[in-house]
Structure formats: structure tokens, C-alpha cells
């Protein structure tokens, strides 16, 4: 079975875990973690012969001896501030190497009916309410990485919104890696439960302190109850030497609406899996994504939208830009279950390939078992439109600046869907900085 046996390094870590889980933890959790450890050890790291990993070889992760951080790394308030979003008035939780750092966090006055807690703290104080939330959407069998996250679970965020509560200010989860040596791996887990008719914005923001080259392996489980409205930002701005694998699971009930923004600007080797299950009529998901790969970056995003109930809607727009020796991968799957009539699913993947050494792979998939549906997808890979270039050039703009403008505009079509202006502006600035030719663009917030 195990063609991808774990290296001795990881096998030892699993063994240590199986010998005894640290601290006093409830039985249900111990069971799940032991199961996950066994699963991780049995399946090993995926290899490119597996269809789901066809375009992404995780060997660099599998062969590096990542270790869990043993102590709190020194962090300066200043470094964290530099990663923040100027002008954003938000609740803040800061995680370093996967552990919550309360000294940098600020949850201020939360409205009644809202709980926001560190996962370690929640498990220590009152674990049982978490039993139905933790590891129930994210199954170990989903991937070895999801299993590893459960097995090596340390901390994360638990966000619970009561019925009808509206969280006015967004919640900013700043999850950063430090320059530990040996390089660290961390397994943050984010649990979001949005009660009936509640509303909130959660920003999952991954970044690194200078010199970091660690591996962040995250799992997010998000439940939107009937009528809930959630905006979920997944912003990955790691150091170019860092590794990231993230799996997001979204389950939506009747008339709930979730918007997901997934932006990838950093990272050496990045893989995202966004899994959405629309389980009741009226559920609606909007998926917006952008990746920019340059240098030797590799970013792979897989989305799966599962229409398991009639009258559900999905809108998906992913854009990618390939520069340098970068490789960008998008695989989007729309599955319409038997009986999920009146499904309306639109999916689009547009990509710009700007360098002879870059590569873009895209695979939009439709799997449909119901007849009364509207489903369409489209995918394009190409370069800048010549007529647009001509238009700009004819107005006295030099070729380089014109290119920069067009690439920026291409990416901005995804970014401009973001509701939070300070986040959008800040990302636009980072994007402009990453486009060699877009230096001239002055992003005005």
C-alpha cells in the first residue's frame, strides 16, 4: 500500500505521537488524532502518479526534516504591523509557528453571541462542544496533509457565531512562520461555525517573518448555517522559500451565502484545496482566486464545488499569471449530484503566461448527473491582448508600462471583488511590487 513510505524523520515523529499524546485530552480527540496519525503514516506523502497530485510534486516537503517549533520565537510588533493592512479596523489574532500569541492579539469587545478563541485554549477549557466541529468536515482520507494536520494538531482559531449575530468588524487571523532552525512545520486549524442568519468576515492571512522557510499545513472547517453570510479571505503571502499546503472545507445550508477570496502571491511550493458542499436549496458560493507565480514558485489550487441539493448556485473566477520559471496550476471541479436540479454553476479560469520558462496547467471539470441545470465553464491561457497594447502605445505609453498596466488590470478583476477596501489596496500594492513592469502603477486606496 505504502508506495510513499514516510522518511525516517517523519516516521519517528508519528511514532512519538503514537507513544503518547501530550497533555490530557478528551477520548474522542485522542481517537481522531491516533487515527489520523495512522492514516498519515500509512498513506505517506502523495506522489505525482496520483491524479490529484499530477502537477505538483511534494518531494521538497517530504524530504525536508521539518520540526515542530519548540518555543515561542521572538517577534517584533513592528514586523507584524508591516504585514497588516493599513487602515483596516479589525479584531486580530496572531499565530507564530502555529501557536496563538495573545500578546499580539486584540479581540477587543466582541458582540454578544460571538466566541473567538484559540483552539488550544478551547480544548483545554471546554473541549466537548468542539467534538462535532473538529475533523468532521475535513476527513483524514481527504489527503495525507489533512491527516497530518489532525495528528499534529496544536493550535488554531475557533470562531462561533450565534443565531442572527452580525460581526461588524472583520476578524484578521495573521498566521506567520518564523525563521526557525531547523525549519519548522506547523498545523494551524481554523474552525468557523456561523449560526443561522449570522454574518461575518474572516481573513486567514499567511505570511512569514524574515528568513522563514518553514512549512505551514493548514485545515479550515467552515460551516454556514441557514441564511448565514460569510466572507472568507485566504491570503497567502509567504516568503519565497516557504511551503504551504492548505485545505478548506465549506459546508453550506439553506440560503447561506459564502464568498471566498483566495490570493496567492508568495510561497515556494503551495497547494490549496477548497472543498465546498452546498447541501440545501438556496445555498450560494462565490469563489474568487488569483495566483501570481514567478521565480521558481509553484502554486496549485484545486477547488471542488459539490452541488448536492437542488437550487444551489456557484460562481467561480480564478485567474493566474505565470512569470519567470513559475508554474501555476488550477483544477476546478463542479459536481452536480443526481437530483440536484436547477443548479446554476459557472466556472472560469483565465491565465496569462508571460515567460517562456513559466508553465500554466488548468483543468476545469464538470461532472453532472442532473438534466435541468445550467452549467458552464471556460478556460483560457494566453498573453496580453494586442489591440489593448496598441491602444495604450498609440497614446504614448511605453511598451513596458503598458504591459504592466494590462497585467495589473487582468489581476485586479479578481481583487476588485473584495469588499474590504484596505485589504484590497494593500494586496494591489503587493501585486504591483511583484510585477516587474508595473512599478509605475500607483495604487490609490
Amino acid at each position: 500500500m505504502s508506495t510513499n513510505a514516510l522518511s525516517q524523520h517523519y516516521a519517528e515523529q508519528v511514532q512519538r505521537l503514537q507513544d503518547g499524546l501530550p497533555g490530557a485530552i478528551p477520548e474522542w480527540l485522542a481517537g481522531r488524532r491516533h487515527g489520523a496519525a495512522a492514516r498519515f503514516s500509512e498513506a505517506g506523502f502523495p506522489d505525482p502518479r496520483q491524479e490529484e497530485w499530477k502537477y505538483t510534486n511534494v518531494r521538497p516537503i517530504a524530504t525536508k526534516p521539518f520540526m515542530a517549533a519548540v518555543s515561542d520565537a521572538p517577534v517584533s510588533e513592528e514586523a507584524l504591523r508591516a504585514m497588516g493592512f493599513e487602515g483596516l479596523d479589525a479584531y486580530r489574532m496572531v499565530f507564530v509557528d502555529g501557536r496563538l500569541r495573545t500578546e499580539f492579539s486584540d479581540l477587543g469587545e466582541l458582540p454578544a453571541g460571538v466566541t473567538v478563541q484559540g483552539l488550544a485554549e478551547a480544548l483545554a477549557s471546554d473541549p466537548d462542544p468542539l467534538e462535532p466541529l473538529l475533523g468532521t468536515l475535513a476527513h483524514d482520507r481527504f489527503s495525507s496533509f489533512a491527516a497530518a494536520n489532525m495528528a499534529f494538531l496544536t493550535d488554531g482559531a475557533v470562531i462561533r457565531l450565534g443565531k442572527g449575530v452580525r460581526l461588524e468588524r472583520p476578524l484578521h487571523l495573521l498566521i506567520v512562520g518564523s525563521a526557525g532552525s531547523p525549519a519548522t512545520w506547523s498545523h494551524p486549524r481554523v474552525l468557523i461555525q456561523a449560526g443561522e442568519g449570522s454574518e461575518a468576515t474572516v481573513i486567514e492571512h499567511y505570511a512569514d517573518l524574515e528568513g522563514a522557510s518553514g512549512f505551514t499545513n493548514t485545515v479550515t472547517e467552515l460551516r454556514a448555517e441557514a441564511g448565514a453570510q460569510l466572507r472568507h479571505y485566504l491570503l497567502q503571502d509567504h516568503a519565497d522559500s516557504a511551503y504551504h499546503v492548505g485545505s478548506v472545507f465549506i459546508q453550506q445550508r439553506r440560503d447561506s451565502r459564502v464568498t471566498s477570496h483566495n490570493v496567492n502571491l508568495g510561497g515556494r511550493l503551495v497547494r490549496h484545496d477548497l472543498n465546498v458542499d452546498l447541501t440545501e436549496p438556496g445555498a450560494e458560493i462565490e469563489l474568487n482566486g488569483l495566483f501570481l507565480v514567478g521565480g521558481r514558485q509553484h502554486v496549485d489550487t484545486h477547488t471542488r464545488v459539490h452541488h448536492s441539493s437542488p437550487h444551489t448556485t456557484s460562481r467561480e473566477q480564478y485567474r493566474g499569471i505565470g512569470q519567470g520559471h513559475g508554474r501555476g496550476v488550477f483544477k476546478g471541479r463542479v459536481l452536480v449530484e443526481r437530483g440536484a436540479q436547477k443548479t446554476d454553476a459557472q466556472q472560469h479560469s483565465a491565465n496569462l503566461l508571460l515567460s517562456p520558462n513559466a508553465e500554466i496547467d488548468t483543468k476545469p471539470e464538470l461532472e453532472i448527473y442532473a438534466d435541468d441545470v445550467k452549467c458552464a465553464h471556460g478556460a483560457t491561457v494566453g498573453q496580453l491582448d494586442e489591440t489593448s497594447m496598441y491602444y495604450l502605445r498609440s497614446r504614448g505609453i511605453d511598451a513596458e508600462a503598458a504591459r504592466g498596466m494590462l497585467v495589473f488590470a487582468f489581476a485586479d478583476e479578481v481583487l476588485e471583488r473584495m469588499e474590504l477596501a484596505p485589504v484590497r489596496t494593500s494586496i494591489e500594492r503587493r501585486l504591483a511590487a511583484r510585477l516587474p513592469e508595473a512599478g509605475a502603477i500607483d495604487v490609490i486606496g
Binding site: 517562456p356 496547467d361 441545470v373 445550467k374 478556460a379
Partner: protein, 482 residues
């Protein structure tokens, strides 16, 4: 809605028109596969040694391979030892010299299939190389083709008469170890067609082969090789029907096309093999490897297929665009009904500069059928200015079928333009209403809409085939609307 489900009911109930079997003496090898069987096949066909060695090499490779399981199809495990790998009409030893000598029963079979050799050959100007099970029975219009220098004969004849061409090109597009079924084919293939168009020749007529699986439990493993020399042009048609049987029959064919500088090959298929009954019992397993290489500059290979039959279709006619400015095309209509499973599509591999490809795929699913498009568009680093356009549309008739699209797009050249579009829909109530309002019966309306849906593909078929394809579609949808 109610009329629609009724339509589907009736559509599901349509019977296979071509279900009969011809009772003539056959020479059949006992079931089983080993090196001796391969030697026996090769010996029966009096093949030169290079062929036997090639077959054995393929067989040994096949033994090391695993049956692919990635396609969206499900079937019980095939027992390759239970299949007979060779069946030929007995009259093979004293092969007919002209149509008059052909076993009248055989001719009758073709008659029932709607291929009247005499008329068709004479009126339509089509040379038919009819493959009855494994051995080519008769070839017409050979002389006329001979005048133009075109070689159109059965594979066995080619092996004897033109071994240098066979040896030069066989397996160069689909190597013997290419995939599980191609390797099996290479080991045991019994016959097929061979076409060679010399330099600068425009083939004076459409070439056509009718394949037919007749004997029970014999796999048909034919192999087609078409070579179009510099500046030549050929259009090749292939049609398939098979009689009704309870057991699944395996069909693993290989087609290789080679187009040199400025050459053009157009390959059209109408496949209407027995799809199995309403419960999915019986039917043909159609596991086919078809690939063309545009080796020369400005060459063009165009695949057109109408896939209406077979219990399972596993088929990806592909183009490798090696020559600069070469063109690949794929036009497909795939109709799945009852328990049929289709996993079909194409691969366009762009290697040369300014290579262009077009993919138009129309999938129709009814009953409990699953119909998947699976395609690959790959632009390699050197394919400067490559261009691809892909359109995959699916039409669902009924709520128990499935339509799937799995396009792979891999681009390594920044000057390439690749576009993919796909839609899934059903026949709109408003469309039916519009047509009914104008006095068109519901059945005709559905036919009209479905034909319109497939129009882009039918337009690519040679005229005779287009008519047949439309008729086939109408038969498939017979009673589709009450």
C-alpha cells in the same frame, strides 16, 4: 416534464436494429493468450519474422502492464484468457477474386447493415475494404486506386506486398508499448487496413472500411495504418456495426496516421456497435487507441467521429503536431443511452511552431448513460504561436444520466493562445414549445434540436456519412418524444 420522461423511457426502449448474426463456417483459435497463440496468429498470416518479433515484444511488454482504471467507466474485470484471439471466415484459404465469389451470406449481412457493396461502390464511388471479423474479405476499386498509385489493402496484404513500408511506419505513432490495450493489439492484431498515398496524389475517391464483429467471444483487434506522403490528400471512412450478443466483446483497435509535408488526412468514423440491452447486459467494449502525427510542415489531420454504439467507449483520437504550421482537428458527437458508458475525447500535442488545433465535442446522454469528454491540450515550450480552441457541449435527456467534462490544459509557451469552453444543458421547454406551435411534432422537434446541436460535427463528415449519421441519431432518438 412528463412528456420528457416519457420520451426518455421510449428512447431507452429502442431496440438494436442490427442485431443478427451470420451463420457461416469460421476458423477460430481456442480461447487463451500466450506466446504460442501469437506465433499461431503470425503463422496463419504467413508473416515475415519482423512482424512476429514485434508482436512478441509487444506481448512481453503487455504482461508487465496494468489495465488502466482512470477513465470514468466501470466494468467487470476482463478475463483475457477467455477471449479467442483469432476468427476468420473459412473461405479465407481460397479468398474471393471478385464480388461474385464472395459468400452470398456475407454480402447479405452487409446488405442488412445498409452497405450494399455493389451499389454503394458503384454509385457512391467508394472503395470498400470490408473486414468481416478479422480478415479482409473483399476490396473493390483497387485498380482505379492503383492507377493513382494509391495502396489501399488489408494489413496482411500490406505485410506481404509492401513489407518495407510496414516496417518503416508500423508502431511509430502508437508504439507497441504505448498503453495496455495498444500493447494487446500489437501482440494479437489479426488484420486491418493499410493506406499509402504517394507524393502529390489526391486520392481519387473516399476510402472506406466497414468493420464488423461477428463471431461470438472473439475480440476484434484490427490495426489501421495510413501514410500520406508529401502534398497528398486522403479521406478515410470507417463504420462499425456488430450483431447482438449477450456477452461483452472486446474490441481493442489501433489506428496510426502519418501526414508528411503539406499532406492532409481526414479520418471519419461512425461507430454503432451493439451497446448492450436496457440493463447493460452484453455490448462491445470499445477500447481504441487512435493517433495521428503531423510530421511535415503544413500538414493536417482531422478526426471526425460519431459514436453511437458500444457498451463502453474508451477512445481518444489524438494529433501530435510536430511540423510547423500543422493543423489538428477533432469533431465528435457521442451519444450514450441505456447503460452505455463513454469516456472519449482527444489529445492535441503542439510541438511545432504556429500549430493550430480545434476541438468540437458534442455529448448527448440519455437513459442511465454516462458520457465523459476527456481531452488534453498540451503546448510545448517550442510551439511558438500555437493556437487551440475547444468547445465541449453536453445535452442531457433525462435525469438519470450523466455528462462530464475533464479537459487538461498544459501550456509552456507564452505566445500560445488556448481557449476552452463547455456548457451543459437540456432541451428547453421553450424550444419544444416554439417548434410545436409551428405544427412540428414533438419527436421531430427533438430530432431537429439534436441535429442542430450536432450540426458543426455532421458538417465535417463526408456527405454519405453525414446522411447515415443523421439517420443513426434519429434511430437513437426514435420514440424519444411521445
Amino acid at each position: 416534464m412528463s412528456t420528457h420522461s416519457q420520451d426518455v423511457e421510449q428512447l431507452v426502449k429502442r431496440e438494436y436494429k442490427y442485431g443478427f448474426s451470420t451463420d457461416i463456417d469460421q476458423e477460430i483459435l481456442p480461447p487463451g493468450l500466450n506466446e504460442d497463440v501469437i506465433r499461431a496468429i503470425s503463422a496463419k498470416k504467413h508473416e515475415p519474422e519482423f512482424m512476429l518479433n514485434w508482436r512478441l515484444e509487444a506481448y512481453r511488454h503487455w504482461l508487465t502492464m496494468k489495465e488502466p482504471s482512470w477513465a470514468h467507466v466501470h466494468y467487470p474485470k476482463i478475463d483475457y484468457q477467455a477471449v479467442s484471439y483469432y476468427a476468420a471466415p473459412k473461405s479465407d484459404d481460397d479468398a474471393p477474386k471478385s464480388l461474385d465469389e464472395v459468400d452470398p451470406k456475407l454480402l447479405e449481412t452487409y446488405e442488412k447493415l445498409g452497405i450494399p457493396l455493389h451499389e454503394r461502390a458503384r454509385l457512391a464511388g467508394v472503395a470498400v475494404d470490408a473486414v468481416f471479423d478479422s480478415v479482409s474479405v473483399t476490396t473493390t476499386f483497387k485498380e482505379k486506386l492503383g492507377e493513382a498509385g494509391v495502396i489501399f489493402c488489408s494489413f496482411s496484404e500490406a505485410v506481404h506486398n509492401h513489407p518495407e513500408l510496414v516496417q518503416k511506419y508500423l508502431g511509430t505513432v502508437v508504439p507497441s508499448g504505448d498503453n495496455y490495450f495498444a500493447a494487446l493489439n500489437a501482440a494479437v492484431f489479426s488484420d486491418g487496413s493499410f493506406v499509402y498515398i504517394p507524393k502529390g496524389v489526391r486520392c481519387p475517391m473516399e476510402l472506406s472500411t466497414y468493420f464488423r464483429i461477428n463471431a461470438m467471444d472473439t475480440g476484434q483487434f484490427e490495426r489501421t495504418l495510413i501514410i500520406a506522403e508529401e502534398g497528398s490528400h486522403v479521406s478515410y471512412l470507417e463504420g462499425c456495426t456488430a450483431p447482438q450478443r449477450d456477452r461483452n466483446q472486446l474490441h481493442a483497435a489501433v489506428v496510426e496516421l502519418i501526414a508528411l509535408d503539406d499532406a492532409e488526412i481526414k479520418y471519419s468514423t461512425v461507430q454503432n456497435w451493439y451497446p448492450g440491452d436496457e440493463e447493460g447486459k452484453g455490448g462491445i467494449y470499445n477500447f481504441v487507441t487512435k493517433r495521428g502525427e503531423c510530421r511535415g510542415r503544413n500538414s493536417k489531420i482531422s478526426w471526425t467521429q460519431v459514436e453511437a454504439g458500444s457498451a463502453i467507449t474508451w477512445k481518444y483520437p489524438s494529433c501530435v503536431l510536430l511540423g510547423d504550421n500543422s493543423v489538428g482537428e477533432f469533431y465528435s458527437v457521442a451519444v450514450g443511452n441505456n447503460m452505455q458508458q463513454i469516456d472519449s475525447g482527444t489529445k492535441m500535442i503542439h510541438v511545432g511552431k504556429n500549430t493550430r488545433s480545434t476541438i468540437i465535442s458534442k455529448g448527448i446522454s440519455a437513459g442511465r448513460a454516462n458520457n465523459a469528454y476527456r481531452g488534453l491540450v498540451k503546448i510545448l515550450g517550442g510551439a511558438e504561436g500555437a493556437r487551440n480552441y475547444t468547445q465541449c457541449d453536453s445535452l442531457l435527456l433525462g435525469d438519470r444520466c450523466g455528462a462530464h467534462t475533464y479537459p487538461y490544459i498544459e501550456v509552456k509557451n507564452p505566445s500560445a493562445q488556448v481557449e476552452h469552453e463547455a456548457t451543459t444543458s437540456k432541451i428547453g421547454d421553450d424550444q419544444i414549445f416554439y417548434l410545436k406551435q409551428r405544427g412540428i411534432s414533438e419527436e421531430d422537434a427533438v430530432n431537429m434540436i439534436v441535429n442542430g446541436f450536432c450540426k458543426e460535427v455532421f458538417g465535417e463528415l463526408p456527405m454519405e456519412f453525414a446522411v447515415e449519421a443523421q439517420a443513426l441519431l434519429a434511430v437513437s432518438l426514435e420514440g424519444a418524444v411521445g
